[in-house]
């Protein structure tokens, strides 16, 4: 297989000879009870009472990585590079799991856009003739994130209609130069976009401009329109953020994205029944929704092309308290079904 990478625009690269062999997903109870529940590999519930949420998050990530490798029929020694991240300070989850697997590791942080950052960088490295097998992953844990970013778990408070629910989920995908069911076609590295939104209870409106910016640059670099895709999935804009992204595309670009654009955070839960307000968020959300639902659509659901553009709000509790606006980023990856996608 020829491996090739070519610059096609600012931050955009077409890649050849990069495939996703398999993905592993592990989710919590609430995620398993959502509309996508049956697409995930493992529903995970905590074991033992003395464990911390941080330890639970590590177990989630490790399980998802092991499942991805098992499905790709690979062992740990075959993995040349592990890429990925989480939401906890100093990326402890990713690093601590790295202590167990012992493979070369690059930790990444782009908040909820971490998974597509890992996919994009991994694809570039594989296409450029670097490692031949890369494991890309992202994880988040609702309660570990709550106690770091918001309040103690049992403290009573009311959530805003624009609040999102950090998903307890992990997703890992095996990128390789050996042919597989999903091919990576192109990647676009996002730029930091900040339209001045300051509300830490509303990430959707902060991230929507970044999503539109990256998707627009990606499509322009490839000379494509949204109609060239079966679906375009952003990560974690939620219901409100998706509406704002559609509005931006309509007003600023004059394009109607309604038929194609959806959002990982919007589909993970039943927004009404599960009382999650704006939808899901968290680094693990887009990783699990891709590894479970979206990759299934590509391999067995008849989709031919998917654009995955996860978005991240790059703030910290400190910057929010200091009244700073929320810079955001989105990284995009174009994926193509290699077989089983001939229906369309």
């Amino acid at each position: 297989m020829t491996r090739r990478v070519a610059a096609i625009g600012e931050g955009s690269y077409a890649v050849e000879g990069v495939y996703i062999l398999a993905s592993g997903t592990v989710v919590g109870d609430k995620e398993a009870q959502g509309p996508l529940g049956h697409y995930f590999d493992v529903t995970w519930s905590p074991s033992g009472s003395s464990r911390s949420f941080e330890r639970e998050e590590r177990e989630l990530l490790q399980r998802s990585q092991e499942i991805a490798l098992a499905k790709a029929r690979l062992d740990w020694p075959a993995v040349e590079l592990v890429l990925g991240g989480d939401l906890l300070d100093q990326l402890v989850t990713t690093s601590f799991v790295g202590r167990a697997h012992g493979r070369p590791l690059l930790g990444m942080f782009a908040a909820c856009a971490t998974f597509t950052e890992a996919l994009a960088v991994g694809s570039l490295l594989v296409a450029g003739g670097g490692p031949a097998v890369v494991l890309a992953s992202a994880v988040s844990h609702h309660y570990a994130a709550e106690r770091q970013f918001r309040y103690p778990v049992e403290l009573g408070n009311q959530r805003y209609p624009t609040s999102s629910w950090t998903a307890t989920a992990a997703g890992s995908s095996v990128l390789a130069s050996a042919p597989g069911p999903i091919a990576v076609e192109a990647v676009t590295i996002g730029r930091v976009v900040d339209y001045g939104q300051k509300d830490p209870n509303d990430y959707g409106s902060a991230m929507a401009p970044a999503a539109v910016d990256t998707i627009h640059r990606h499509l322009r670099a490839l000379g494509r329109t949204v109609e060239d895709y079966d679906a375009i999935f952003t990560g974690d804009l939620g219901e409100f953020g998706r509406r704002l992204a559609l509005k931006l595309a309509q007003e600023e670009l004059g394009e109607d994205w309604r038929a194609r654009l959806d959002d990982c955070g919007r589909v993970l839960y039943d927004l009404q029944r599960q009382d999650v307000h704006n939808g899901a968020s968290g680094a693990g959300c887009s990783a699990a929704v891709f590894g479970g639902y979206l990759s299934h659509q590509l391999t067995q659901g008849g989709w031919r092309r998917l654009l995955l553009a996860a978005t991240g709000a790059l703030l910290s509790p400190t910057t929010a308290q200091q009244g700073e606006s929320i810079p955001s980023i989105a990284h995009a990856v174009s994926l193509r079904a290699e077989r089983g996608g001939e229906a369309r």
Binding site: V153, E154, N157, G196, Q197, F240, L244, L248
Partner: protein, 149 residues
């Protein structure tokens, strides 16, 4: 990105943002806050019937309410009550107890000194600090002007 594009976007965010159900929240806060107060009143009546004077009955009443709130926090119920009742559940003494017990449970994993000890007042701390500051100011006013409050 032009200045006008940003201003236009901020206008869309403002006009399209889903609204808080204020009327429903107010009714829920009234009912939940009222119910907690009623429970407190019943507990006080019990102590009065035991022969305590009205002044002396208030302390054990508060203790029972705090105990109940701590229990409900431990069982994972109090945060649901606050989700429904908002300030109606946060403002009474039971809400304060919740604000103390929740961090105590939360930071057990970091140890008794640097976990529970250091972070017990994470939520209640500001209330105590500014409550005491306000009490000091009011006390000063009373001292200087000699008014009975």
């Amino acid at each position: 990105m032009s200045q006008s594009a940003q201003a236009r976007y901020q206008y869309w965010v403002k006009t399209m943002r889903p609204k808080k159900p204020v009327a429903m929240n107010l009714v829920a806060a009234f009912l939940v806050g009222g119910a907690i107060s009623e429970v407190g009143q019943i507990i006080q009546w019990v102590f009065l019937r035991q022969g305590l004077s009205p002044e002396k009955a208030s302390t054990p009443t508060a203790i029972v309410l705090i105990g109940l709130s701590a229990l409900f926090t431990g069982l994972g119920w109090y945060d649901r009550l606050t989700k429904l009742g908002g300030m109606g559940a946060s403002l009474p003494i039971t809400g304060f107890a919740n604000a103390m017990v929740a961090p105590a449970m939360e930071f057990r994993a970091e140890g008794l000194v640097l976990g529970v000890g250091a972070r017990l007042f994470t939520v209640a701390g500001p209330v105590l600090a500014w409550g005491m500051a306000a009490a000091f100011v009011v006390g000063l006013v009373r001292l200087v002007f000699g008014v009975a409050i």
